[in-house]
Structures are given as structure tokens and as C-alpha cells.
């Protein structure tokens, strides 16, 4: 394509964007709405992952230590446990610390502890696990190994929570692929149909371009570029909508507390997801225009048949 033709295509794009503003706005708006739903799902998925991470951070193995261990013996044990592949961090809770923690947990009722010897609570190791090792069988395996350590009296971990977490992670992964795939296809068809309607409204332009000898590439180029612009605009508008929804909900969700407490503040999409949403909009606009236009050109030739 020579420079004159590139200039021609850009002039057509500029003129069409100006003169068919409402058609373009409608297509960009539809793209924005469908991408908003898709982006909303991405936002939900991001926060679910974050929530799962928060829940996972709360999963700890508590290894209660035998009484009377020497400080260097405890230090070696902490060092050995921290070196294990599954372990993210280890916190040694001395008998004294355990007493203070328990007192703090009782709050105003801490008077109940009066008269009890401080050695009644055992020292322990609170072991946090790396995200990849929070699966039920892996946690159990680590707990068994810790039990066999001579300095450890007993081991506890929230088995039920670990199992639930495992299920939740699995569910989110499946939802991500199935629901995300279905939504992507729905988005593709909705945007494709809208683009098709917009092209039908401009069938005269395609027909006249064909009649004056424009090549297929030259006919398609302005439509595809306009489709890209519509798609990108739709993507940007959907992001603006998602940001608005995020600002509205940001303070509301953590206030619900309960099982949502580990979520902390709601998360917005990361840069990769933002770029993905824009690229999907761009792709849908370009490919939707191209496919609809090609189909239309074939249909127009067939429909023009008469004696």
C-alpha cells in the first residue's frame, strides 16, 4: 500500500469517526458493557485469589515442644524447621510468651489465670507454609515429619480449614477457565453482532468502493482500524466503569468482616489484567470487523444477483 493509499485510509477513518459518531459510540458502548461484565469477573477472581491467600496465610502448623529444652536446642530446631521446603516462616513462642498471648486473648477476664503456674502452657513453634504447600496431604505429611522430631511433643493444624481451602482454590481455578471462557465467547458474539449491524448501515460505502475498483484490503482497512479504535475505547470505558464500581465497594466489603476479614481492602486489577482487558477490546474490535465485513462482502455479491 503506497503513501497516498495510507493517507486515503486515514482520511476515511477520520471522516467516518466524525460523521458516524453515534454508530461508533453504540459499538464502543456495547463493547464496554460486555467487557465490563468480563472485567467484573476478572476483578472477582483477583479478589477471590487474594482472599484465598489471606485464608492460606492463617493456616499454621503448631508444634508444641517438650518442656525443659535448652535454648540452643530450641534455636537449632527453629533453624532446621525453617530450612524445610514447605516452610515460609517459623515463630518460636516461649512459655512466657504463650502465657502473655493467652492473657491478652482473655482480655478483661485474664484474672481467671491467677494462681496458675506459668509453665502450664508449653512452648511452641508456629509454622506458616508457603502457598504451594497449603494442600491437605502436603500439610499432613509435614505434620507427621514434625511429630517424629524428638523435641516435639505434639502437632496441631486446622485440618478442616486446609481441606476447605484446597476445594476453594480448585473451584476458583475451574470458574476462571469455564466462566471466563463462556464470557469471552459471549463477548465475542455480542461485539461481533454489533459490528455487523454497524457495517450493514454502511453497505453503500462498501458497494461503491467495490464498484470503483478498490481492492479488498483497501475496503477493509478503514473498518478494521475503526474497529480497533472502538474496541480500545470500549476497553477503556469498561475499565473506567470497573474503577467506579471498585471505589464504591472498596470500603464496603471489608466492613462485612467474618470470613471476608482476611481479604483486607478490595484489590483492583493489576497492570497485566488491565492490559489484557484493553487487548481483548482491541482484538474483538479488529477481528469482529474483519469477520463481519468479509461475511458481508460475500453476502452482498450473492444478494445483488438479478436479471
Amino acid at each position: 500500500m503506497n503513501l497516498s493509499l495510507i493517507g486515503f485510509v486515514m482520511r476515511r477513518v477520520r471522516s467516518n469517526l466524525r460523521q458516524l459518531l453515534w454508530t461508533h459510540a453504540l459499538t464502543a458502548g456495547t463493547t464496554a458493557m460486555t467487557l465490563f461484565v468480563f472485567g467484573g469477573f476478572m476483578l472477582l477472581e483477583t479478589n477471590l485469589q487474594h482472599l484465598l491467600k489471606g485464608w492460606g496465610d492463617q493456616i499454621q502448623i503448631t508444634a508444641y515442644l517438650n518442656n525443659g529444652l535448652a535454648p540452643d536446642e530450641v534455636q537449632t530446631l527453629v533453624k532446621n524447621v525453617a530450612a524445610m521446603a514447605e516452610v515460609e516462616r517459623v515463630r518460636h513462642v516461649s512459655q512466657e510468651q504463650a502465657w502473655r498471648d493467652f492473657q491478652a486473648a482473655l482480655g478483661t477476664q485474664s484474672g481467671l489465670l491467677e494462681g496458675l503456674p506459668r509453665e502450664v502452657l508449653p512452648a511452641s513453634l508456629e509454622i506458616s507454609l508457603k502457598p504451594a504447600y497449603r494442600d491437605g496431604p502436603l500439610v499432613e505429611n509435614l505434620a507427621q515429619r514434625l511429630k517424629k522430631t524428638p523435641q516435639v511433643a505434639s502437632v496441631e493444624f486446622p485440618q478442616e480449614w486446609v481441606e476447605r481451602l484446597g476445594l476453594a482454590v480448585l473451584a476458583v481455578e475451574w470458574i476462571q477457565w469455564i466462566f471466563g471462557g463462556v464470557l469471552f465467547l459471549a463477548t465475542f458474539f455480542i461485539v461481533g453482532s454489533t459490528v455487523k449491524l454497524a457495517i450493514l448501515a454502511r453497505k453503500d460505502e462498501v458497494e461503491i468502493m467495490q464498484l470503483v475498483g478498490a481492492s479488498e484490503d483497501l475496503i477493509q482497512a478503514p473498518f478494521v482500524i475503526e474497529g480497533m479504535i472502538q474496541g480500545l475505547t470500549g476497553g477503556a470505558l469498561s475499565l473506567a466503569g470497573l474503577w467506579g464500581a471498585y471505589l464504591l465497594l472498596r470500603g464496603e466489603v471489608p466492613a462485612l468482616g467474618g470470613f471476608l476479614a482476611p481479604l483486607g481492602e478490595l484489590q483492583f486489577l493489576d497492570l497485566n489484567s488491565i492490559a489484557l482487558l484493553l487487548v481483548i477490546g482491541w482484538f474483538l474490535g479488529a477481528v469482529g470487523s474483519l469477520i463481519s465485513l468479509r461475511r458481508f462482502i460475500r453476502t452482498w455479491k450473492a444478494s445483488s444477483a438479478q436479471s
Binding site: 497516498s4 486515503f8 464498484l211 470503483v212 475498483g213 478498490a214 479488498e216 436479471s307
Partner: protein, 229 residues
């Protein structure tokens, strides 16, 4: 210049629009294709600008077989033709000048050159004062003259017109026919499909008559000016 060899066209499921047409049109001829509605006039033109492919036979244009062309070949063929239709086929959102220049821009001419040429051909068809008007602001005759200007901008050797005066009153139609004669005098070959017998009788030097898809008559007469003399 134009040669049809046993050309037939059948539309699905079984409508035979043209049957075994063999004809030849020489360079510089002004030919009318006459016949009632449904005779196959438009189909014959569509085969020439390759909107349709023949079902049988071969069509040669300047010795080149245009029977089976891919989309790129069709686009290149149409750049050498000037096409005029009854319904004008102008873009409503473009001015007369822009509509005419469009045909030059798609072949790769710069914006400035396309517009300069468009202005010249609009002047040739008597519309230099109306170059900035959009089609809806023009009369039917003016719109057809814009369409003719668009057909002329790339200096085509062959002009195909399908019922070009169908939407025009007699006086305006005469003006359009005089434009075609002017183009013929400059060396272009003109093929006009029309069912208007008055028009054919007044301007036709060669008349190909179609009936139910068959070529039933090929009549050559003296040019109207010589007939009058």
C-alpha cells in the same frame, strides 16, 4: 474490444438469465442493449464488470479473458471501467467533489491530484458550481452527472451504464445522452442498457436486442446527426 463467446448465465436454482450470447463490440462504438425488463440487460453488464461470473462461455476484454478473475483481478478490471447506474450510487455523506475524487483515490492518486481531476471532470459535465454540494442537495439529473463524472475520472476506455436515464425526465436524460456521445467522440466505448425505446431510437447507432436472455437482434444504424442530414 469486447468479445462474448457462447456466454450463458444461470442463477440458482434454475433461472437462465442469458443464453448462448456471442457478440463483438469494437473500440469506440456506442452500443445500446435493449429489451424489456428481465431480458438480461443488467446481467450482461454485470458479466462485463465482473459482478457476476458466466455459467458457460468466455468473455474477452481487449483480448484478455475476464471470465475467471480473483478479487484482486476484479478490482484491477474495474479501475479501467467507468460504471453508471440508474440509482446513481453516491455516498450521501460526501460532497460531489469527494464522491468523484474517491474513484481516483482508490487507485493510489494523492488527495490533491484526485481533487484537481475531480474538479475538472465536474466542470466537463457542467457541475463546477455544485462541487461542494452533497447528493441530497442535488437534483436527480445533477446526481447522475456526478456519477458520470466519477465514471470518467480515471479516463476509462469502456463506460458501462445500466438504465442511466431511468430516474430522469426527458430533457435531463437528453443532456446525459449528449455527455455519453461526447465521451464516445473522445474515443471511449460506451455500452448502455436501457428499455427506453424513444431513447434508443434517438441515440442508438448499434442496438443489441435481448429477449428472455437471448440475443434476438443486432441492428446498426447511421448516427442520429447523419440520419437527420
Amino acid at each position: 474490444m469486447i468479445q462474448f463467446f457462447h456466454v450463458s448465465k444461470t442463477y440458482p436454482p434454475n433461472h437462465r438469465a442469458l443464453s448462448d450470447i456471442t457478440l463483438e463490440i469494437a473500440t469506440g462504438e456506442f452500443v445500446f442493449i435493449g429489451g424489456p425488463s428481465g431480458a438480461g440487460k443488467s446481467t450482461l453488464l454485470k458479466l462485463l464488470f465482473r459482478d457476476e461470473e458466466p455459467s458457460e462461455g468466455q468473455i474477452l476484454l481487449d483480448g484478455k479473458n475476464i471470465t475467471r478473475l480473483k478479487s484482486r483481478g476484479v478490482a484491477q478490471l474495474r479501475r479501467k471501467l467507468g460504471l453508471v447506474f440508474q440509482e446513481f450510487k453516491l455516498l450521501r455523506n460526501l460532497t460531489a467533489l469527494e464522491n468523484v475524487a474517491l474513484a481516483a483515490e482508490v487507485v493510489g492518486l494523492s488527495k490533491r491530484e484526485s481533487r484537481t481531476r475531480a474538479y475538472q471532470v465536474l466542470r466537463d459535465v457542467g457541475l463546477k458550481e455544485r462541487y461542494d454540494a452533497k447528493p441530497l442537495a442535488l437534483s436527480a439529473g445533477e446526481q447522475q452527472r456526478v456519477a458520470i463524472a466519477r465514471a470518467l475520472i480515471n479516463d476509462p476506455l469502456l463506460i458501462l451504464a445500466d438504465e442511466p436515464t431511468g430516474n430522469l425526465d426527458a430533457e435531463v436524460a437528453d443532456g446525459i445522452m449528449r455527455l455519453f456521445i461526447k465521451m464516445r467522440d473522445r474515443g471511449a466505448t460506451i455500452v448502455v442498457a436501457s428499455h427506453d425505446l424513444n431513447m434508443i431510437n434517438r441515440y442508438g447507432t448499434r442496438v443489441l436486442s435481448l429477449q428472455r436472455g437471448a440475443l434476438v437482434d443486432d441492428l446498426t444504424r447511421l448516427p442520429p446527426e447523419e440520419q437527420r442530414a
